[in-house]
């Protein structure tokens, strides 16, 4: 089941670390508040486990999908629990379930996703571009399963790069995932000389 070597996973984790660090810095600028990131995990997981990585599959989340296109197909997914979404949106006096609140979440996804993949692109020399973000409020399991196999890709194992961004001084944190398509991971590692 081990698709990747420890060295490769270390390298991917470091990519996630730098990428999510940049994303957290962008969020900090957007909110005018300091942010913090957890040490990312990088793991190749059976699909059912990948879907469960961010919590119970039936728990609801605001999910922001930023599809990545270019030299590698991937998806950046932000998962924000209900209360945290309220905290996030309240910075601008918005409700996450309103049209404007959804726009704000979309913009958060856009800014975080873009800064993350800019780092990836710089480090790997790949040409990567974000597609417009899509916002849903739904069950965690349904969100992640739909992202992982939504393109109809026939996979057994998914590579998940997962970190947590916290807004300091606020009860606000979110999961931040990078989910490359299978072929993309080989390319990514190839660019890193691994």
């Amino acid at each position: 089941m081990s698709l990747y070597t420890d060295l490769q996973l270390d390298a991917l984790r470091e990519l996630a670390n730098i990428g999510s660090g940049q994303a957290a810095a962008s969020l900090s600028t957007l909110l005018g508040k300091p942010t913090d990131i957890s040490v990312p995990t990088a793991a190749a997981l059976p699909l059912a486990d990948a879907v469960a990585i961010a919590g119970e599959p039936e728990e609801e989340r605001h999910g922001i999908l930023v599809p990545i296109i270019g030299d590698m197909s991937a998806a950046v997914v932000l998962l924000v629990p209900e209360e945290d979404a309220h905290t996030l949106c309240s910075v601008y006096g918005l409700d996450p379930h309103s049209e404007d609140g959804r726009s704000m979440l979309q913009e958060v996804g856009n800014i975080l996703g873009t800064s993350y993949i800019n780092v990836l692109a710089q480090m790997t020399g790949m040409d990567l571009e974000p597609a417009p973000p899509q916002v849903v409020h739904d069950m965690l399991g349904a969100i992640l399963a739909s992202v992982l196999i939504g393109r109809g890709e026939d996979i057994d194992v998914a590579l998940v790069l997962d970190s947590n961004i916290t807004v300091e001084g606020e009860a606000c944190s979110m999961s931040f995932l990078l989910l490359p398509e299978n072929g993309g991971v080989e390319d990514l590692l190839g660019r890193l000389g691994l």
């Binding site: 069950m139 399991g141 349904a142 399963a145 739909s146 393109r151 109809g152």
Partner: protein
């Protein structure tokens, strides 16, 4: 028998199937997005099976398995029959197949969304096996959770943020044998 054992929930995770002839059991698919939860139910015999199907058809190469409709549907039928279900009494209930996201410019080549393709593939397989679809909650853009009560074949589902809805009830008349 303990109380817990009387109400045991069996979860069909992605690509898996569960089946039971134990009256106290509940079968469940949690967080269905583009996947399809297919229930095959024999209400008279109190037998039910549930498959969590992810993709329409098996690849040309590789081991066929429960992820794919063309393998999963006959496999589930076989398991339900083995537990004492009778083919002519089976009711099929489908939940899932939503399109929560659109993936522009990707490998889906602008074709039908995977949720809709899953739905169609499961129906095609059921037709081949002459099992009727008696209730469905498919398509749309929301994720769903479904539960099947083995004792009476009741199927309920719920969408994110919504209330539980009874989709298939034991109040329906049993079908006459074909």
């Amino acid at each position: 028998m303990s109380v817990a054992a009387l109400h045991q929930e069996h979860l069909a995770r992605m690509g898996q199937q569960v089946a039971s002839a134990q009256a106290g059991d509940v079968l469940a698919c949690v967080g269905l997005g583009s996947c399809i939860g297919l229930a095959l139910i024999d209400r008279r015999a109190s037998v039910a099976g549930l498959a969590h199907i992810m993709l329409p058809s098996s690849p040309a190469a590789g081991q066929p398995n429960g992820k794919h409709a063309d393998y999963a549907v006959p496999a589930l039928l076989e398991e339900v029959l083995a537990l004492g279900g009778a083919r002519h009494r089976l009711d099929a209930v489908l939940v899932g197949g939503a399109a929560m996201f659109t993936f522009g410019g990707s490998t889906d080549g602008g074709g039908a969304q995977i949720g809709a393709r899953n739905d169609e593939a499961v129906r095609t397989e059921l037709q081949k096996l002459r099992v009727h679809v008696r209730a469905e909650a498919t398509g749309g853009t929301r994720g769903r959770t479904m539960r099947v009560r083995v004792a009476d074949g009741t199927v309920v589902f719920k969408e994110a943020g919504g209330a539980e809805v009874e989709l298939f009830s034991n109040a329906l008349p049993l079908r006459a044998a074909a």
